[in-house]
Symmetry: C2
Subunit: 333 residues, 2 copies
């Protein structure tokens, strides 16, 4: 562990510490030759500036903390990727942490980030206004929430997804193909405002197009309600088109239906939320309502940069969902 310091560079190039600093940062007046000499020496010695020391002087670390519930969830992985990508291009280093949907871990991670004097935080929050979240606001660390919001913290801008547009397009497609009844499997809705909002949006748009009586909605919140039995029941009522609010339910249903000899896109039509890679790999390709997670991520990062670099406190934004029709939706018969 032998780091080269600015002092080493100064000695070797026969200049002073301050001259080296200026040469390397293009700040202040400096002669062409000195600059060239210093740069050459720094390179030869393999000098890497110590960003901690830099940060201590400038109160800028160019480090942002990103906190997601679980990086193993493809949705959050995509989100993290998009955010990190945008921030990297803006010269920021992103430190990704995982809260495991656990408020205690979330807070531990935030305190850790705070002790590194991050320039800001992008957070998919869980639970309410916790101690660490409050600390962030108290120290007035630039902050953006993504995908979810916290009830008592209206001062923090939020970028999340608006399900209505995608659902409307999906329902319109089903209707135009002759379906007159639609089933909606809303997933484990209990603890998830996101899933709740999707169900609500489904009901609103569905009512107008199909009429209240032709909407069949069921959640899989409770362990004993299997997504398959729900589908069977609905099919008994003449439902042949389904929308899944929760993509895991869709994955489960698709293979089970195939196994039962039902052809997707012919015997049964279905659409799922979330444009997962596997949906594009399957036969037939699965129609989806995409949250455009990449847009959410880069927009969240943009909002953050607006606050940090331009001191502009942007308002919350919603990203429209988009319906992507593919082979899993056929004609009604």
């Amino acid at each position: 562990m032998a780091y080269v310091t600015i002092r080493d560079v100064a000695q070797r190039s026969g200049t002073s510490v301050s001259t080296v600093s200026r040469a390397l940062n293009n700040r202040g007046r400096i002669s062409r030759e000195t600059k060239a000499l210093v740069e050459k020496t720094a390179h030869e010695l393999g000098y890497i500036p110590d960003s901690r020391a830099q940060a201590m002087r400038s109160t800028r670390t160019r480090l942002v903390g990103l906190l997601v519930p679980d990086i193993r969830n493809p949705y959050f992985a995509d989100l993290a990727y998009a955010i990190q990508d945008t921030l990297f291009d803006a010269g920021y280093c992103t430190s990704i942490g995982t809260s495991s949907e656990d408020s205690v871990k979330q807070d531990a991670y935030i305190m850790n980030m705070l002790s590194q004097h991050i320039d800001g935080a992008i957070i998919v929050p869980r639970g309410g206004k916790s101690k660490a979240l409050k600390a962030l606001v108290d120290i007035s660390v630039p902050m953006v929430f993504v995908d979810r919001h916290v009830n008592d913290m209206p001062e923090v801008p939020v970028v999340d997804s608006d399900p209505s547009e995608g659902l409307l397009k999906a329902l319109t497609d089903l209707h135009s193909r002759g379906f007159r009844k639609v089933g909606y499997i809303s997933g484990p809705i209990l603890d998830s405002p996101t899933l709740q909002e999707r169900e609500y949006a489904f009901r609103s748009a569905g009512r107008a197009l199909f009429g209240e009586d032709n909407l069949f909605v069921e959640s899989t919140s409770f362990g004993h309600v299997s997504c398959l039995s729900v589908i069977r029941k609905m099919r008994g009522s003449g439902v042949n088109a389904f929308i899944f609010g929760y993509s895991q339910d869709a994955v489960q249903a698709i293979s089970a239906l195939g196994y039962q000899g039902l052809a997707i896109g012919k015997d049964i039509s279905l659409i799922s939320f979330d444009d997962l890679e596997m949906f594009r790999l399957m036969t037939p390709n699965i129609s989806v309502i995409s949250q455009q997670v990449h847009v959410i991520g880069s927009l969240g990062a943009q909002l953050f940069l607006d606050i940090v670099e331009r001191g502009r406190k942007a308002g919350s934004q919603r990203v429209e969902t988009v319906y992507i029709p593919r082979g899993s939706v056929g004609e009604a018969r």
Copy 2:
């Protein structure tokens, strides 16, 4: 942005900066009451130690850089999760970076990490011995490679996966169920030593059990070779049991076979590498050869901790794959 410093705590508690430091770090002799007073004051003021300043004195940052090719790949997401989890419990903060399978980005990220004076790095390397990788070794930053190795860097310990055990068990299962021919779809093998090793291990174990002539191997390296056509061809030769070296091919095959009305686990038996969550959701559940990514991750982290905390330079280790039989394998007929 108003951070409370150690000086604030000293003033408020009527002590000195050094006393506060000692009280909070349990170092040196200190009276019970002073310690209690300082702790109380620190808490009241919401003091968060500046870890950059701490690090500058102690030459330890408790920060480790983790570099994976793409966090959106479920395998790497699992790996990152396991590593971060282990390191977190040991008191380290993990900064996850993404190289996008791009040597330039990889190097940029490493230099960035280096400038934060990380205590070490855990890396899924791509390509050969790059400049930044060399810099890490030069500064003798503790380092471990995971999942892959770099040819010219034998000094860096590697934790990766050994495909043979799992393959042997999988093949034995197929044989005991009466299958006498096996197909192996090896995936886009061209640039992947991992996939190459799997195919090689399949051939070795398969030869002993089934005989050279009953092994059918095909890669999907080239865009125009579809995994489905390969399966069709092999079935024409009387093959009804398949092993997939590359899980994406399996996902694709499973839904396509279901769509064609073939029942998995009855008409056709299959096993895939990688214990993906979706394989456990499908009907029937898909038998897999698990890399035990969680074990690889925590072992990698352990190896790293051995180096950093105990100065013990551990050797490379291989993690056995494990065969997990499930419903997608039936009896031959």
